[in-house]
């Protein structure tokens, strides 16, 4: 397959945003990507790893800060012929009917009416929407809406079809039907498309559909691994080679991170507390600890298995697992999660002991929590403003991440009764020790 001609190519793409303070925030760094004729390529990664940004660069919706974007060897700036996109949220125009939505892309290009109508009819038939032509999107179920999304993209006969998590807003059954329908059309070569690039955070979906998977790492987003999937279609989710590959990818994605190398783009050294945190609710943390401690897991579980049992995708499960690992309640490695001794104690303890244990681990293992706690202890009135912490963090991450990080710490500290936050006054505060 490597001999197939190259359709689209990205070389050394870097995407960075300049913040008002003048600092740069790097979303993507040094990304190479080649799309060849006849292959489905998956971009797999956590949210915030820049994979959607990369898709938008290919779509011409975003321009990289530096690097080359080549379509058939020619540089591209902006949306090009032969590239169409399917959106996670469907992005249908609610005031247009199914047929008008499908026609929109053709009319924008001033395709003559008769030809446009014929092509729209074909696309609607192909994708299984016949009979729904004059329905408005709000009258359709999610699955039907996404079919409109597919028809709208395919009707412009794109050489490259881009899909941004196209199935993640659908329920499990609907998503499966749409996946197999699309794969069937692809295998039977009924699609006008020669290559598909899809973003997903569902590992099984990537293994099911893709010929090649690029695993993304975060902060800054970069390609951590490239995995070739040689299992012939139709693929069986329960087959051993399929399971092995899924396990392998879980393992790669939970491998311990190398120390953040490229992150220090700013001049100042990064303080230990300026690490982005994910606001995971303490209910989910305790829920996972209890699940792990109980049978059938008895303290150790295989992540893909756990994800399937809990019906969690990696974007749900990984943050919980990683937060537990950070807090010293669990160990994650090679696609497995294992309770630590404190984790087991936590699962068995009552409310008050849990809080005490959580507070202890929070101060010991989360530098930002310790930092705020220390600042509060220094003040006689036990109140410190929120804004300086936000500013400090924003020097090293985007505003959204800074806010999420502070939200995370606030939520955990409230649970641990370590300190709390007064939103009206915008200050962290601490109860006087009794």
């Amino acid at each position: 397959m490597t001999q197939n001609p190259t359709l689209f190519e990205l070389r050394g793409v870097r995407q960075a945003y300049r913040k008002p303070s003048g600092q740069q925030y790097v979303v993507l760094d040094g990304v190479d990507l080649t799309l060849r004729d006849g292959e489905i390529v998956g971009l797999l990664g956590r949210s915030g790893s820049g994979k959607s940004t990369l898709l938008r660069i290919v779509a011409g919706l975003a321009r990289p800060t530096s690097g080359e974007v080549l379509h058939h060897g020619a540089a591209v700036a902006g949306p090009t012929d032969g590239v169409a996109m399917v959106f996670q949220s469907f992005a249908l125009f609610p005031w247009l009917t199914v047929e008008e939505n499908v026609l929109a892309g053709l009319k924008a290009l001033r395709v003559p009416g008769k030809e446009a109508a014929a092509r729209a009819g074909e696309a609607i038939d192909l994708i299984g929407l016949s009979g729904f032509e004059n329905a408005y999107p709000k009258e359709l179920s999610g699955g039907m809406r996404q079919r409109v999304g597919f028809a709208r993209a395919l009707v412009v006969q794109p050489e490259i079809l881009l899909m941004d998590e196209p199935f993640s807003a659908l329920d499990v059954l609907t998503a499966e039907t749409l996946r197999t329908d699309l794969l069937d059309l692809w295998m039977e070569r009924k699609l006008p498309t020669r290559s598909i690039l899809m973003v997903t955070h569902n590992i099984e979906e990537a293994v099911l559909m893709c010929d090649r998977i690029l695993v993304f790492a975060s902060n800054p987003g970069r390609v951590a691994a490239e995995i070739r999937v040689d299992i012939p279609h139709p693929r069986n989710r329960l087959a051993q080679d399929f399971r092995d590959l899924v396990d392998d990818i879980y393992g790669r994605m939970t491998a311990r991170k190398p120390p953040a190398a490229a992150a220090a783009a700013t001049g100042r050294p990064r303080p230990v507390y300026a690490e982005a945190l994910q606001p995971v609710s303490t209910n989910r943390l305790s829920g996972l600890l209890e699940t792990l401690a109980a049978p059938p897991y008895h303290g150790k579980a295989d992540l893909p298995h756990l994800a399937a049992a809990l019906r969690h995708e990696i974007d749900d499960l990984f943050p919980i697992a990683e937060t537990l690992q950070m807090l010293g309640f669990a160990e994650v490695a090679e696609g497995d999660i294992r309770l630590t001794e404190p984790g087991r104690l936590f699962a068995e303890a009552g409310m008050d002991d849990r809080k005490a244990l959580f507070a202890e681990h929070l101060v010991n293992f989360v530098p930002l929590a310790a930092h705020i706690h220390a600042a509060l202890s220094e003040r006689t009135d036990h109140r410190v403003p929120y804004a300086p912490f936000a500013r400090e963090l924003e020097a090293f991450m985007s505003e959204d991440y800074a806010e999420a990080t502070l939200n995370a710490v606030t939520g955990w500290a409230r649970y641990a009764e370590l300190f709390t936050y007064d939103g009206e006054a915008g200050v962290f505060c601490k109860e006087e020790a009794e």
């Binding site: 590239v83 996109m85 992005a91 005031w95 009319k107 924008a108 008769k114 709208r152």
Partner: protein
């Protein structure tokens, strides 16, 4: 587009009128004829104004009502045009937005009736010897009462187009024109239509006020319900006042049924939420037309033409850019260097600041030409008096209407009947009722400083009522049930359950009521009945008297101070309250 044409011809084949057409057709033709008649009169020579323009014969009222309605329609058309240009410019160009949005914010606070004297003089000189000048002045006054909130609404919609739809449009390579008509305008439609309705209901007040204007020694009277009223007041004819009220009631009712209900029902299809859950607004007029066969077939070519226009690419700039040689093309397409961009920003700030300073200086010099520091002090004091009135009135109206609105809102059946009445009362121009109050004050020799005040809020208090009713009706029933299951009653129920729940709605009503009161003060603080004048001390009567005397520097001073008061009130009171409601009381 052949496929639309074929669908047209299919329709044409079955275009034989059906029974719905029997009703719809006379409606359409009749309305067209009325519009033609009303429009024709607007172009009459000015001499026709010198003859006693208005007679109190009630049989003239339908004609007058038609002319008032035409003014309203013309103003709405102008407002729409202005909205589309101004809001689009402000939303699309960052640098233009930097100036246009604050300007709009200030324009909102300027009392419309204050500057009517200027606009009359201006438009009369623009069309010498024709009624058109006076018509334009009246239309302009109505326009200024309608345009600003519509513009804000469109601007906010344009700025909040959902990102995925925006990306879809880009990825399917819509041109700017296509994007505007296929994405942005439809997305903005429900908000815009709603604001048009609010504007309309506020507009009748200004129609009435702007048809009979006296500036200095010049009186301009335009045939209409407003001038009919003015004549009735001059002749002390209470019966004629009654006829005017009746005519107004009829006009508002017809307007609502034939224009706004259909429009709101139609705009519902542009609502963005993709759930069909909420109850869709209905209009019998719209339904009638959707069922007609002949009328729809007549409209189909128009529809298809509009569709084609909306799909034109129409991007002269980009086709121009496409024609450039490749080397130049790359330079045009390349983004500006950040340093150059910042320099451009600085230059733009400087230009804006210089223009603002120059305008401010001109304003000060103009005022100083006819008014001294003493006047400024007086006007500030009078402004404080009017402020006191506004605050007290809003407080009293709130104390009355919030509990009543809640009690009504809790009874769905009752709310269904009261709600349209309250909206109707909000649209009804309260100045039609002023004579009744004046007669009472004269009869009982009451203190005008106290008893004229209620007139200011007479027309706008209803906004508080219907917003509170709306807030109560949408209050989640599980919270109501929780309250009753925990037996939360009495004052605790109001304080902890209902008042926080309706507060955001109440706020919207109170802001509208207060804003309207400032405007109304200009006509409410100085009223007359025949030769008798009743005047209260306040900024409104100051402006009214300066207008009657044609004393421009004092008019400008009065307007400037009133705008200042309104702006400060918005910044220091309403906006923080909105922020609080948004943060703490949102039921998400």
């Amino acid at each position: 587009m052949v496929w639309t044409q074929t669908s047209v011809s299919v329709k044409a084949a079955t275009a034989t009128p059906n029974r719905w057409d029997l009703v719809a057709l006379p409606l359409v033709v009749g309305l067209l004829a009325l519009a033609a008649a009303g429009g024709h009169q607007m172009n009459a020579p000015l001499t026709s104004l010198d003859t006693p323009a208005v007679s109190l014969d009630p049989w003239n009222l339908p004609d007058y009502a038609l002319r008032s309605t035409m003014r309203m329609l013309a103003a709405m058309a102008a407002s729409l045009l202005f909205t589309f240009i101004y809001a689009t410019l402000a939303a699309k160009s960052r640098r233009a937005g930097m100036v246009l949005i604050p300007v709009l914010d200030v324009l909102q606070s300027v009392p419309v009736l204050g500057y009517i004297s200027f606009t009359v003089v201006f438009f009369l000189s623009l069309f010498p010897g024709s009624v058109l000048g006076a018509e334009c002045a009246a239309i302009f006054a109505i326009f200024t009462s309608q345009a600003w909130n519509m513009t804000f609404s469109l601007y906010q919609s344009l700025r909040s187009v959902p990102r995925d739809l925006d990306e879809a449009a880009t990825s399917f390579r819509f041109s700017g024109w296509q994007r505007f008509w296929r994405l942005e305008a439809p997305f903005a439609m429900p908000g815009l239509v709603w604001n048009m309705m609010i504007s309309m209901s506020g507009g009748w007040f200004f129609v009435v006020a702007s048809e009979a204007i006296t500036v200095g020694d010049r009186t301009v009277t335009l045939p209409g319900i407003g001038s009919y009223l003015a004549e009735a007041i001059a002749q002390k004819n209470l019966g004629a006042v009654g006829w005017a009220v009746l005519a107004m009631l009829a006009v508002i009712l017809l307007y609502d049924q034939f224009l706004f209900h259909p429009l709101v029902a139609w705009a519902d299809k542009f609502r963005f939420e993709q759930t069909g859950a909420q109850e869709a607004p209905e209009s019998w007029v719209l339904r009638l037309f959707q069922r007609t066969r002949f009328c729809r077939a007549m409209l189909a070519p128009v529809e298809s033409l509009l569709d084609r226009v909306a799909w034109l690419r129409l991007s002269p700039l980009s086709s121009l850019a496409a024609a450039l040689p490749p080397a130049l093309k790359r330079r045009v397409a390349a983004p500006l260097s950040p340093a150059f961009d910042r320099a451009l920003d600085r230059g733009w700030y400087a230009v804006v600041a210089a223009a603002a300073l120059a305008l401010g200086w001109t304003l000060v010099r103009f005022i100083a030409g006819g008014a001294g520091w003493g006047d400024v002090g007086t006007v500030l004091l009078l402004g404080a008096a009017t402020l006191l009135r506004v605050v007290v009135l809003v407080a009293i109206a709130s104390l009355l209407w919030v509990p009543l609105g809640v009690l009504i809102g809790l009874r769905p059946r009752l709310a269904e009947t009261v709600q349209p009445v309250a909206q109707f009362l909000a649209a009804f121009p309260a100045n039609l009722l002023f004579p009744v109050a004046v007669v009472t004050i004269l009869r009982f020799d009451l203190n005008p400083d106290v008893w004229l005040s209620p007139l200011m809020i007479l027309g706008t208090q209803w906004y508080i009522l219907f917003n509170v009713i709306a807030g109560t009706s949408t209050f989640p029933s599980d919270l109501k049930e929780t309250a009753s299951s925990f037996r939360i009653r009495g004052w605790q129920w109001w304080r902890d359950v209902m008042l926080p729940g309706v507060f955001p709605y109440y706020l919207t009503g109170a802001v509208t009521a207060a804003g309207g009161s400032w405007n109304a003060s200009i006509v409410a603080e100085a009223v007359r009945w025949g030769d008798a004048k009743v005047t209260a001390h306040g900024l409104g009567s100051y402006i009214a008297q300066a207008t009657a005397a044609g004393d421009y520097p004092r008019i400008v001073l009065g307007i400037a101070v009133m705008s200042l008061f309104v702006t400060l009130l918005n910044r220091l009171l309403w906006r923080p309250l909105y922020g609080y409601a948004e943060r703490r009381l949102r039921l998400a």
